[in-house]
């Protein structure tokens, strides 16, 4: 079930000439084509011993990509470039997906640190979420890693699949609230499962202003987890002091 990604090869004395040839043959302009240089070629002496430049060309098809109106030009280009990379990766895997471009939810904690998100949709791509989003994390890393070669300013995008990250935030908030209730009821600390920093941050933020509980991360590396604790054990005047929450760079 390979996605159709027809590639054309052109060769000429120089890369520029090969690109001109591609433009003429395919009836498209430079920015409607994805161009991949196979070899830059070498000029020989009097046409002898040289090697032609070879390029591979694919029609760019970002026409179906709806970009929100409030995106500035840089964001628009970043979204298109990211779409390009995603398209090539998915085609290589034989997967099809629709891509939605959006901004992360404003004014609330999210698992989407970059200003723009590309959300993949479709039955086939949900295999790329993985256990606790592990495969999605790898996919997002690859997209941004390959993007970094085109954008010098280390611009990055969030990748989501079937709104997994949005749903994950909701379930983390619910988890935090349930743990808080249990702490209030039992007056004992409740340790949560180990989770990555970005997810721990959601728990900390959700309970930051809770009157009866406080949160703290313990453990190291993969095993680092949040413990939800009573703010002040009753009858203990020297219990944990109530402190205002201050976000830290690495929760």
């Amino acid at each position: 079930m390979e996605l159709e990604t027809r590639e054309y090869e052109f060769s000429a004395r120089s890369v520029a000439e090969a690109i001109r040839k591609a433009e003429q043959t395919l009836g498209r302009t430079r920015d409607e084509l994805d161009i991949f240089v196979v070899t830059e070629g070498r000029g020989g002496i009097l046409g002898l011993g040289g090697e032609d430049a070879r390029i591979r060309v694919r029609l760019r098809n970002a026409s179906g990509l709806a970009i929100p109106n409030d995106f500035d030009e840089g964001e628009r280009q970043l979204a298109i470039a990211a779409w390009d990379v995603i398209h090539s990766l998915l085609a290589g895997l034989g997967l099809e997906a629709a891509v939605e471009v959006r901004r992360p939810a404003a004014g609330e904690p999210t698992l989407e640190p970059a200003p723009i998100t590309l959300n993949l949709q479709g039955d086939q791509v949900s295999v790329l979420i993985g256990r606790r989003g592990a495969t999605l994390a790898s996919f997002q890393f690859l997209v941004n890693h390959l993007l970094a070669r085109r954008f010098q300013d280390r611009a990055s995008v969030n990748i989501d699949i079937e709104d997994y990250r949005v749903r994950r935030v909701q379930s983390l908030k619910a988890l935090a609230m349930r743990a808080a209730q249990k702490v209030v009821r039992t007056r004992r600390p409740v340790p949560l499962d180990a989770m990555p920093a970005a997810e721990r941050r959601i728990i900390h933020l959700t309970l930051a202003n809770h009157p009866d509980v406080t949160t703290q991360s313990t453990g190291t590396g993969e095993a680092r987890r949040v413990v939800v604790m009573p703010r002040r054990p009753r009858g203990h005047p020297r219990g944990p002091v109530r402190r205002p929450f201050r976000p830290r760079p690495r929760p």
Partner: protein, 80 residues
């Protein structure tokens, strides 16, 4: 899936023309053998192995759906 490996490796390589990916399959194990120019070996691996590990994680997930296993190998060429 081979096209995926080729795309990623050619994208990170400084000498994409030297990239070769060989695919073989035996008893449900699909093996991708990557050859690159010696100076590109580190780029294919990535910092702390991040690039090659990401490829493995993704390929494993896609292959698992078909009941297959995947192995990604990077041929280490001797410097000559």
């Amino acid at each position: 899936m081979k096209a995926f490996v080729e795309f990623v490796v050619r994208s990170v390589a400084t000498r994409p023309e030297a990239v070769e990916v060989e695919e073989s399959e035996q008893a449900g194990l699909r093996v991708f053998r990557i050859r690159v120019a010696p100076e590109d070996v580190g780029r294919v691996i990535g910092r702390q192995g991040q690039v090659i590990q990401a490829m493995r994680t993704i390929l494993r997930a896609v292959a698992a759906r078909r009941g297959e296993r995947v192995q990604v190998e990077l041929a280490q060429e001797q410097a000559s």
